[in-house]
């Protein structure tokens, strides 16, 4: 697990880089075997393959959690 994630014992992984880390979110998605694009209307990143566009990301006030973790 790269250093942009933290994980509580029972909870999902939290992306620590926030909501505007376009490069990091794209890089993580490229390395992720669980990436699956959300409905296009929910995409927010220009790069299609991005955690920000993944149906398993769940937005939080500061960032998102990964529901695949």
């Amino acid at each position: 697990m790269s250093d942009v994630w933290i994980k509580d014992e029972d909870g999902p992984k939290v992306f620590t880089a926030g909501r505007l880390a376009w490069g990091a979110a794209a890089g993580e998605a490229r390395r992720c075997r669980g990436f699956r694009p959300d409905d296009e209307d929910e995409w927010v990143a220009d790069e299609p393959c991005s955690c920000y566009n993944c149906r398993y990301r769940r937005w939080t006030a500061q960032s998102f959690t990964c529901q695949k973790s």
Binding site: W22, D38, D39, E40, D41, E42, W43, V44, A45, D46, R55, Y56, R57, R58, W59, T60, A61, Q67
Partner: protein, 247 residues
């Protein structure tokens, strides 16, 4: 008669999205010959630990002109549709506003704005719907989606929130189109910058990425910015998805 329809919380992680269901509902209204639906808009609601949502907490809304005698049929259809088509584990809510009966447009709009800023309850949503004479119903799960459905209706009515569902398609994609050509699209009412400069009909816009419009001033607005890589003078380009994130 004019109605405003909004649905929320119909999906789960694996299912089709609420936007698709809203489009299917609008489409059914038209193919049944009941009336004519507008475009669907997406409205972002509050993201908060106390709010149960699947992944993004957004509601989907559309206006429709419908023959009054078909309204009961449409309402029954919409309720059944949500009951049967919403995903397992979802908490779908349906809001249908008869615009002619709405007691206070500003009351509905303020509920929508409030819902983007604070956590509201089902009881508050039902009370507001009762006060304003709005149909609000739940169709599975906890029915928590009624809050977002009512809020989304308010935000759509306010006309200054959200993005249009889907993308705008033009024949001349990847080349510059004149503003007059863009305005000929049925879902483009205005072409302007975020700062409020309305482009002249003869100015040109280079279309790139997915072309999406936002709801501003009750209109579908294509937002643009100067195209610094453009070869022509005074050329513009549409804002990218990332730039539209906050809408």
């Amino acid at each position: 008669m004019r109605i405003l329809v909004c649905i929320d919380d119909t999906d789960n992680l694996e299912s089709r999205g609420t936007g698709e269901l809203a489009s299917l509902l609008a489409e059914h209204l038209e193919v049944s010959g009941w009336g004519k639906a507008s475009y669907v808009t997406r409205h972002q609601l509050l993201v908060h630990p106390d709010i149960p949502y699947t992944s993004h907490n957004s509601a989907m809304a559309f206006f429709a002109e419908i023959s009054a005698n078909f309204l009961p049929e449409f309402m029954t259809y919409a309720a059944d549709f949500l009951t049967h088509e919403s995903a397992e584990g979802s908490d779908p809510g349906l809001c249908i506003v008869e615009m002619g009966r709405l007691k206070s447009g500003s009351g509905l709009i303020s509920f929508g704005v409030q819902c983007k800023q604070q956590v509201l309850t089902k009881a508050e949503a039902y009370a507001k719907a009762r006060d304003l004479d709005i149909h609000l119903s739940e169709h599975g799960g906890t029915g928590q989606g009624v809050i977002g459905a009512l809020a989304g209706a308010g935000l759509r009515l306010g006309g200054n929130d959200g993005r249009l569902k889907g993308q705008l398609r033009f024949d001349g994609k990847d080349s510059a189109l004149s503003v007059a050509q863009l305005l000929a699209h049925p879902h483009v009412d205005a072409v302007r910058t975020e700062g409020g400069y309305h482009l002249l009909p003869i100015e040109s816009v280079r279309l790139h990425d997915k072309v999406k419009s936002v709801l501003r001033g009750g209109e579908s607005v294509l937002l643009v910015e100067p195209d610094t890589r453009g070869v022509a003078e005074n050329c513009w380009k549409n804002l990218s998805r990332q730039q539209l994130k906050s809408y």
